[in-house]
């Protein structure tokens, strides 16, 4: 019996493939609709996944136990609002340092959108000025040279740490760069260490365009000697609620509740992710509209196919085919047609993703593959069911008499 089922399926597939090969142009154009739809959806998902992974990597490189204490209300900060209000100073850092679960802490002055110049070249950079404790706080590691030490913080020498990525941009090489000078806002700084790169791809927008200088060395560009925020690291791998409460309690003695925010990596990550997911879902939903258009194309051609084959349907009915046999045959054909488009769309997506991977962190996961093939089969069924029903409901006598 199972052998018979196989034979049945073989006949259905063979009939479908015969029709496809007889109408190659038509078959291709019909599946093109699904091809484009699947490609749009899969590519957008691939870009979304890639971007999400990139952001995740950036956060992971800093460690999940990084806490940033910032001036201003958390809601406003999360929504990208300005930083303002109070200013932290060394007293806050000293008080917070007394919390046992904090392993390292430093006040930080940060200046994004700065320019770094050397070797006749100019690059965008974010200046981060802090004590030597920035090293454990930001998980900094050197490729060449050395990191900040306690004496550097005390002396306030004009020394700087840049990433190898930045060195390659400025000097075209990361070798023999130690000891060379770079200009930061018209101040000259000596390179003492090259940091290991933390991310790849997406050019200069990552953590690798951060340049680190001792806090005291920042006075020329930060004349008010103010802290942008306080960065700290906890002993545990993840920040626990008690540590957070302790930090808040210390600061509440001096400031109002709305004047500062204690931000965990995880929180920031979650917010960024959720915004990102929404944008990506909307884009994918828009792309999915083209799948519906593709489905309508399939439905249209299936109606044509049914009309062309009325006589064949009549013959099959005379030979004992049930309505359900005819229904099944046409649905199988429309699913095959749609799957063909889905498969081609997926193949092109893989090629495109492979091509752009060097420039942009995109990747296709198993879920996208399953979704693409699942959705295209689904479209084949949904849009094939009406034409197939029309074929199955033909009266055998009218069908076989049809010329």
């Amino acid at each position: 019996m199972s052998c018979m089922k196989d034979l049945y399926f073989l006949f259905v597939i063979k009939t479908a493939l015969y029709d496809f090969s007889r109408n190659k142009g038509r078959t291709f154009l019909t599946s093109l609709g699904i091809l484009i739809g699947v490609m749009a959806v899969v590519l957008l998902m691939a870009l979304g996944l890639g971007l999400k992974k990139y952001i995740q990597d950036q956060f992971d490189s800093l460690g999940a136990n990084l806490v940033m204490v910032m001036p201003g209300d958390k809601q406003a900060l999360m929504q990208g609002g300005g930083i303002g209000g109070i200013q932290f100073d060394e007293r806050d850092v000293t008080k917070l340092r007394r919390i046992k679960t904090i392993s390292s802490i430093t006040g930080v002055y940060a200046k994004p959108g700065s320019k770094i110049q050397a070797n006749g070249k100019t690059e965008a950079a974010e200046i981060v000025a802090a004590s030597e404790e920035i090293v454990p706080v930001m998980n900094l590691e050197v490729e060449y040279g050395r990191l900040f030490e306690k004496k550097d913080s005390q002396k306030g020498q004009k020394i700087i740490l840049i990433s190898t990525t930045m060195a390659e941009k400025l000097f075209d090489t990361s070798e023999n760069v130690l000891g060379k000078k770079v200009d930061l806002n018209e101040q000259s700084f000596k390179i003492i260490g090259l940091l290991k790169p933390k991310s790849s791809g997406l050019g200069s927008n990552g953590v690798d365009n951060h340049v680190y200088i001792p806090f005291k060395a920042s006075y020329s560009i930060n004349p008010d000697k103010k802290f942008y925020g306080i960065y700290l690291k906890t002993e545990n791998k993840e920040v626990n609620a008690e540590t957070k409460t302790e930090i808040e309690n210390v600061l509440l003695k001096r400031y109002d509740k709305d004047d500062f925010s204690v931000l965990e990596q995880k929180e920031i990550m979650d917010t960024v992710s959720s915004i990102f997911n929404i944008i990506n879902s909307v884009l994918v939903a828009i792309a999915a509209i083209s799948l519906i258009v593709g489905g309508i194309g399939i439905m249209n051609i299936m109606y044509v196919s049914v009309t062309e084959r009325i006589k064949e349907i009549g013959i099959r009915r005379a030979l004992g085919a049930r309505k359900s046999d005819i229904l099944y045959q046409f649905i199988t054909e429309s699913v095959l047609l749609s799957l063909l488009g889905g498969f081609l769309g997926l193949s092109f997506s893989f090629l495109i993703v492979f091509g752009i991977q060097k420039l942009f962190p995109a990747y296709i996961d198993l879920m996208s593959v399953a979704l693409a093939l699942g959705v295209s089969s689904g479209i084949g069924i949904i849009f094939g069911v009406f034409p197939a029903k029309k074929a199955a409901d033909l009266s055998p006598i009218d069908a076989i008499r049809y010329e």
């Binding site: 018979m4 034979l7 049945y8 029709d19 007889r22 030979l319 004992g320 046999d325 055998p396 076989i400």
Partner: protein
């Protein structure tokens, strides 16, 4: 085996006019008969064949197959009887051009509901050999002659071991010599295998070769 009781078939042409293709036909065809339904074109003989073959339903009257009133059967059950009880042979052969000779012969078996008790493939090979189609198994119907196509159609009608063969103008598209061969084949099936064979024809000499002639004019038996 087949019994028609006062069968009438009407077609509605427009709101006021009706056309009766069959009027009060009552007849019985017994198991093992070789008979012809004959009459001029437009007399209703094809309609009668379609009703006997369960491709069409009468407007009134009863059709009984082995005592079962077919009006009480649903589409699935009618399909089953078409599959197991009747084998059709048509004037236009009605083979499916995208399937090979062997696949055309096997086509009814993919719609079967029960175990046949024999290998359809072996039987199909036996039939091709018996009907002189050996070597043509993998040819496509449009690459073989009309006589060969009709023999494929007869082989296809036999693959399910039916009790009744309904042939609608089986010689209509063939020259006299080939037509005679096909008729001889149908006679053999009736003689050797005791199959009931009903041939619809407008040709008097074709009808003359059968044992019983059912003549129909303007929808009435004469």
């Amino acid at each position: 085996m087949i019994k028609l009781e006062e069968v009438t078939k009407k077609y509605i042409l427009d709101r006021e006019t009706e056309f009766a293709a069959l009027k009060n036909i009552s007849l019985q065809i017994k198991s093992g008969e070789l008979c012809a339904i004959t009459g001029p074109s437009g007399s209703g003989k094809s309609t009668l064949m379609h009703i006997i073959g369960l491709l069409d339903q009468p407007s009134s009257g009863r059709v009984l197959i082995d005592g079962i009133d077919v009006a009480k059967l649903n589409d699935n059950e009618l399909s089953r009887i078409r599959s197991e009880f009747v084998g059709f042979v048509f004037q236009q052969f009605n083979l499916i051009n995208k399937l090979t000779v062997l696949e055309n012969i096997l086509l009814p078996t993919i719609y079967k509901r029960k175990d046949l008790g024999y290998s359809p493939h072996d039987k199909a090979l036996y039939l091709t050999e018996r009907f002189g189609l050996k070597g043509k198994e993998n040819s496509f119907p449009n690459k073989i002659s009309g006589g060969q196509q009709q023999r494929v159609a007869i082989a296809r009608s036999l693959i399910m071991n039916p009790k009744l063969i309904l042939a609608d103008e089986p010689t209509g598209n063939l020259d006299t010599k080939t037509g005679n061969e096909i008729l001889r084949l149908l006679e053999e099936l009736n003689g050797d295998e005791k199959l009931t064979v009903v041939i619809v024809t407008h040709e008097v000499d074709v009808a003359a070769r059968t044992k019983r002639i059912i003549k129909i004019v303007d929808g009435c038996l004469v």
